[in-house]
Amino acid sequence: MFAGQLLIITEDGVTHVAAGQCALDVGLDAHDTAMLRDYAAARMAAIRDLATAMSEPDDEIELYRTLAAFWLELRFEWQRNNEIMNYQTVLRGAAEPRVVAEGAVGSFVLARIETLLDPSHLELLTRYALELLENERASALLTDGVS
């Protein structure tokens, strides 16, 4: 069962361990380590909520689609962290460790979800997401005012 596979991800403790290791690798202080653990726990709780709410055999297609949308949500989050890290590196010479760590754990969760989705669907989603945003411009907004 698809929901069962998702529950394994939330129950095997691997993401929790990865978050702890990541905090050590990046050198987070106690406060930021606690925040990173909260973040990892929140992601696992979200997956568990999905799997338990949509656990019937009849729910499989909708669960699959919702998981694909969740993957995209995480992809946009990863992209945001990545943009921030890139700009911080260029402007300050180094990225903020908290952002680096959250980006790494987010990427880890993304990779775990990817194992449950068809690669052709992931390719399609990535293409849609890129096309959706590639031509957006702020200039009209700044000239005309907020709509």
Binding site: Q5, A42, R80, E83, L116, H121, L125, L132, R137, L142
Partner: protein, 156 residues
């Protein structure tokens, strides 16, 4: 005011975290769930301030707009997911989880704050995409997301 400055103003609003955590009282969350909601609110605020600071130079306004659009879509998908879970919980058990409802409401609050900085027509297009993804409503997505395609999943 530049886009980054407008975003920084929104993110630094003293009511940002307070409003989101206030949902704990409305939905009668216990202490553990309230702490979870507070951590969520702080993460969201840091995400927006991080964007505004990192992409704050005038030369990257378009880049910031695209990043902001991505951040809004991230919220939109999260809100949609939470609503989906709440609806299933309500139908199956008659009792949707209060914490999931609180996160959905918090998510909606963050979306409303950010969307003031985005074109309305852009938001409508992105929202349509988010809905089509879940429902398989568009022709293109249906052809790729129909039952036959799902059966190609490694888990099927």
């Amino acid at each position: 005011m530049t886009l980054a400055e407008q975003l920084a103003t929104i993110a630094s609003d003293e009511q940002f975290v307070l409003e989101l955590v206030g949902l704990a009282t409305t939905l009668q969350l216990d202490d553990t769930d309230t702490a979870f909601l507070r951590a969520y609110a702080v993460r969201k605020q840091l995400a927006l301030t991080g964007l505004a600071r990192a992409l704050g130079d005038a030369g990257s306004e378009d880049e910031l707009y695209r990043c902001l659009a991505g951040a809004w879509l991230e919220q939109r998908f999260e809100w949609q997911r939470c609503n989906m879970v709440v609806n299933y919980q309500a139908v199956r058990t008659g009792e949707p989880h209060a914490l999931t409802m609180a996160i959905a409401a918090a998510c909606s609050n963050v979306m409303q704050r950010v969307e003031a900085l985005l074109h309305a027509e852009d938001r409508e297009r992105w929202s349509a995409f988010a809905v089509e993804l879940i429902t398989g409503a568009s022709d293109d997505l249906t052809s790729r997301w129909g039952d036959e395609t799902i059966s190609l999943s490694p888990l099927s």
